[in-house]
Symmetry: C2
Subunit: 223 residues, 2 copies
Amino acid sequence: MTLHRVTTTGRVVDLLREQILSGALPEASLLRQEKLAAEFGVSRVPIREALHQLEAEGLVTMQSHKGAVVSSLSIDDLEEVYEIRARLETWLLEQSMPLLSEQHYQKAEALFAEMVEDRRDENWSNLNWDFHATLYAPANRPQTLALVRKLYLNAYRHFPLPIRLTGSREKMNREHRILLDLCRQGDVARATEHLEQHILMGARHLISRLKALRRQEGDAGRA
Amino acid sequence: MTLHRVTTTGRVVDLLREQILSGALPEASLLRQEKLAAEFGVSRVPIREALHQLEAEGLVTMQSHKGAVVSSLSIDDLEEVYEIRARLETWLLEQSMPLLSEQHYQKAEALFAEMVEDRRDENWSNLNWDFHATLYAPANRPQTLALVRKLYLNAYRHFPLPIRLTGSREKMNREHRILLDLCRQGDVARATEHLEQHILMGARHLISRLKALRRQEGDAGRA
DNA sequence: CGATCAAAGATCGGATCCAATAATATCAGG
DNA sequence: CCTGATATTATTGGATCCGATCTTTGATCG
């Protein structure tokens, strides 16, 4: 669609965003311009512009003459983002459900099957998003969908995949299965209720894992 | 709060954002780097970085080697943004209403009175936002509030004040009065319902004014 | 021995310069 | 006179250089 001509700054932005969202650059990492410039084999200018751009996206915070760090979400913020998602996604589903066609269901089923079968974790986030987005598609709310997607990625960043998924895949699969069935049955109230719980449960799981991780790190720090 | 040390880029960002949101730079305006640089008395570098930053915020769109233009929202997009606002703000009110204290009411009343009395238009947007935000404050949802504020500004931009307000001030005032009273009565259901209608009516008014304006421009073009 | 201040080094922000790309004008051919 | 190729110009993107600011180290003094 938007086929911007590739520019160095743009590529740097994409690379850094990818690394931040994937967790390769954990939160609070220092981003030295010179280091990144050398790493990517470019001058510092596109790095600086990329950092500014990412700052506007909320992924890094910059302090002038001090440096840029990968920004971090507090647990409260994380929870709130999930709650916003729940509020908006239930709304999307409410609108799209009456309009879901067999084609949408087939696509959702295919994505669901892929998520069940694929044992590797790397694609899970994308598949999960695609699954949800498929169910919301008929609502025809591009702005809302883009916003929710941004929140989705933003909430997931910083958490290496094993942390996100450990002990929750089967649960997620079961919930997705139920969600699909409820949609097919046309029960809007129960489907949206289930979706809300699904999202909020995901938040709770992620937060408990995160707290455990921080406790662990705290212990390591004390040792 | 965030007291970054002032940097040229930062100031340029703030200036351009202000000009875009206020309508001084109408949508689809071409933003020539050299022109802006001369205007602000700086080199092109901070201009470029500012433009990139604003692009990430969604206020301008850049095409490499072609230039930057002030981005525009379609009418559909505008309507959708208002609907998102309605969905989120009713949620905020729902949570905050039980927690509203006399202090909040007094602040809201003061802002309301200011909006009624102040015949000048310049402050209206800010006062209006502050009024709404005051009612949502007890919900203690900083992320949501920041997001809604962004949507609020984004939806209002491009519309010179006279267009936004003509023939709607009295209506807005009446609706605000009712909203305040419903809050005081503690009727959550009716208050949120009223708020939703208030926001959606605002959208409808703005869109009709916008369509009239475009029709008018179309006629002028044909003449 | 610890604290404070100064100087050196590191890093960032901004200006200038150069290269790459798109828009525009010019000219040849039909 | 119109169309298409080519050259010129305007504008952007990127690299290098310079000045400003922050950090760190080390020396001096209490």
